[in-house]
């Protein structure tokens, strides 16, 4: 069924990136009758390729971009010299480099944004040091597409389970995952404090769904690929359905590095390296870049030419700016009996009582809390409670692993113009292309709110009866896996890169859709919103193409 397009053919749509957004975009455009080629820089893996191997996945960049072939540099502020990110530590801008993208290694937490996320600037006013802005769309406009994600991608959860839930037009298609001990304890502690915990919405099948089996509770979600196909990577959901139309080709190990333009200022195709590192060109009537919040701005900046000297679609100067990672702050609790949190999905209970920003606190911020183990054993063992991190007492701490949980607070990052993805002037990747330079320093309010929410996690663990509680670190972030805000959408071409339908303000047949489109960060868990945006954008892009408006 899979269509193969020849080198000389001009396809209707070329989609760069096969992840959370690219997968949706490919399926929707192919189903709408268009010919689609998807370029994916990483390989296509099969379920059997995924292993429960922490060393490979957490320390050796098994399925993510890595510092050997995809080096990056980092600095805190634009006036500083960026330093090459060292091997052994996570890259500043980390994503899964494979077909399915980061929807393959994500944890699958599928919170919808709330109504407030889309108009906080109007609600709260300006915030010094930040470029807080309203989205050009509302929650109500996005709601049908959130519902589409629930049903087309497959989200398990329980509708109507808490008073802070944003309005929804349909219940979840699957019941929530079985509760874990951490979920029971979070629920117990939260209810004692008058809060409203609810079953976690997850893009993980709690029962067989659309040809995929139910979760086997193996515990290797976060950072790993799902060999059971229960976690809803687009590798298993959207892309096979796109290919089944007979109009879509997913071309793996195809690394896009320059978008070509015509004298009329339209895009004509994309230059890429194939798996043999030969330069090839795929011509297209329109290009949709869904390469993630780091690679999308990088591709635009690498596409600079005489006509677009500052990078493609960059008349605003904002391509790559306003990078947001999502802050976090949480606490560990040790209980009397075993929880065995290493089993099953990360989170089974969530709290959204602290979702809204509250000016009375004196600083901006909002967040959600969930119950989880955190990473798998090897990472977990690296950081213990305050005190000596080795020796006899540390061994006792290690023994408490099955009785320990993390109450994790997931919080906002403000859009700060200096925080950015740019091209390093010196460092090159293994293909000779400019490496990414990450500039990032949290807005002070991001840290203050993460600490504030951490206090709430401590209270919840105490109320749940924890024998021992300690805080995880709240630190300035030096890496992220939520890559947001770098080609923000907006009505004003001077203050945004794309319009409300994801069309580049400067280039009529170029569209951008992924985490880069975000205007604000939400409260963590961005993939649900990335996919809702992709469903919405695909519908509009397809309609515009049919009306010959592209």
């Amino acid at each position: 069924m899979t269509r193969r397009y020849g080198d000389g053919e001009t396809v209707d749509f070329l989609v760069v990136g096969s992840g959370a957004a690219g997968g949706v975009m490919a399926r929707e455009l192919a189903r709408a009758g268009f010919g689609v080629v998807v370029l994916e820089q990483g390989p296509r893996l099969a379920p059997g390729d995924f292993e429960h191997d922490e060393l490979k996945y957490w320390f050796n960049y098994g399925i993510t971009n890595g510092p050997a072939d995809q080096p990056q540099s980092f600095r805190k502020a634009p006036h500083e010299a960026a330093v090459r990110a060292p091997a052994g530590a996570p890259l500043p801008l980390t994503y899964a480099r494979m077909v399915g993208g980061s929807s393959t290694h994500f944890t699958g937490n599928y919170w919808r944004f709330h109504e407030v996320d889309f108009h906080e600037r109007s609600l709260l006013g300006a915030i010094p040091g930040a470029a807080l802005d309203d989205w050009p769309i509302s929650y109500a406009e996005l709601e049908p597409y959130y519902t589409k994600v629930d049903w087309e991608i497959g989200v398990s959860g329980l509708a109507g389970a808490h008073p802070n839930e944003p309005p929804r037009s349909r219940p979840y298609p699957m019941p929530p995952m079985p509760v874990k001990s951490s979920g029971v304890l979070l629920e117990r502690g939260a209810r004692r404090l008058g809060l409203h915990p609810f079953p976690a919405p997850l893009a993980i099948a709690s029962q067989p769904y659309r040809g995929r089996p139910a979760c086997i509770h193996c515990g290797f979600c976060m950072g790993f690929g799902c060999e059971a196909r229960a976690k809803a990577s687009t590798l298993y959901t959207m892309l096979p359905e796109a290919e089944a139309t007979g109009r879509c080709e997913v071309r793996s190990e195809s690394y896009a590095f320059r978008i070509a333009t015509s004298p009329a200022g339209r895009v004509t195709g994309v230059h890429y390296f194939d798996r043999a590192r030969r330069e090839r060109v795929q011509k297209a009537r329109a290009v949709v870049v869904c390469a993630n919040g780091a690679e999308t701005p990088r591709l635009l900046l690498m596409s600079a030419n005489a006509q677009f000297p500052d990078g493609l679609a960059n008349s605003s100067g904002l391509v790559g700016k306003h990078l947001m990672f999502n802050q976090h702050g949480g606490a560990f609790g040790v209980f009397e009996h075993e929880l065995n949190e290493y089993k099953s999905v990360q989170a089974t209970r969530v709290i959204h009582d602290f979702y809204d920003a509250d000016p009375k606190r004196g600083f901006y911020g909002g967040g959600g809390i969930d119950a989880r183990i955190g990473p798998n054993p090897a990472i977990w063992t690296l950081r213990g409670p305050p005190g000596r991190q080795w020796g006899k007492a540390y061994k006792e701490h290690l023994r408490a692993f099955p009785r320990t949980m993390l109450a994790a607070g997931h919080t906002t990052s403000l859009p700060v113009e200096a925080n950015s993805v740019s091209l390093d002037p010196l460092l090159k990747d293994a293909w000779g292309l400019p490496a990414m330079r990450c500039t990032y320093r949290d807005h002070p309010d991001d840290l203050r709110f993460a600490e504030w929410l951490q206090d709430r996690t401590v209270e919840i663990l105490d109320a749940a009866g924890a024998l021992q509680v300690w805080r995880g670190p709240v630190e300035e972030l030096e890496f992220g896996v939520h890559l947001l805000g770098t080609c923000r959408m907006g009505a004003d071409p001077r203050r945004s890169v794309i319009d409300r339908f994801h069309r580049a303000h400067d280039v009529p047949n170029l569209f951008l859709c992924d985490g880069s489109s975000f205007v604000t960060s939400g409260r963590g868990q961005p993939t649900m919103t990335i996919q809702a945006l992709a469903f919405r954008a695909a519908e509009h892009i397809g309609a515009m193409a049919r009306r010959h408006e592209i």
Binding site: H52, D53, E54, L55, F59, N60, P86, A87, G88, L158, G160, A161, H162, P163, P176, P178, V179, K180, S181, G183, V184, L185, E187, H196, F198, P199, I216, H217, C218, G219, A228, F335, H337, E338, L339, N340, E341, Y342, K343, S344, P377, A378, W380, T381, L382, R388, Q389, W390, G391, K392, Y394, K395, L398, R399, F401, P402
Partner: protein
């Protein structure tokens, strides 16, 4: 006796061959890891084979740290020798070893040894530092491919999620 046996195992024939460390370096390193996760009524990092994991890591995925590691070890040994009449760290008694490690626990060398020791103990046994699943047994990690609820004590008798009354 256990110490002598482990030191022999760390360097003697029949053990995994060393790829980076000299036998003497391995003996010293083995004494350090044995204080990071000590042996008590259950095995520790020494029995788990942490030395082999560190050794192999410095030739493979952590090769970039091999130079600083070796420099750090030389400095560590010189520092211990200077304070203890030229003695080897491995030959000292436990109290002396612990006291010295407390004095150097902030160094990059100790941090690297600690990280590699812990990582090796809790990743797949095939990497050499979690021999016979010693690390996993220590933390109660049941290496099964999948699980079924109940997962722990607190979800065993969970009555089901009660949807709160959200008022009119």
């Amino acid at each position: 006796a256990a110490h002598a046996h482990a030191a022999a195992a760390a360097t003697g024939p029949g053990a995994t061959a060393l790829e980076f460390l000299t036998p003497e370096e391995a003996r010293e390193l083995d004494a350090i890891v044995a204080q990071i996760v000590p042996t008590d009524e259950t095995p520790g990092a020494r029995e788990a084979g942490a030395v082999y994991f560190v050794d192999r890591s410095l030739r493979t995925w952590a090769a970039g740290a091999a130079g600083p590691f070796r420099d750090g070890l030389v400095e560590f040994r010189a520092g211990f020798g200077a304070a203890h009449a030229g003695a080897d760290f491995a030959a000292a008694d436990a109290a002396t070893q612990i006291a010295h490690l407390e004095s150097v626990e902030g160094t990059p060398f100790f941090g690297l040894v600690r990280t590699l020791t812990l990582v090796g103990m809790f990743v797949l046994p095939s990497y050499g530092g979690n021999r016979d699943g010693i690390g996993w047994r220590l933390i109660g990690f049941d290496d099964t491919h999948g699980y079924a609820p109940p997962f722990g004590y607190y979800d065993r008798d969970y009555p089901g999620f009660a949807v709160p009354d959200q008022g009119p």
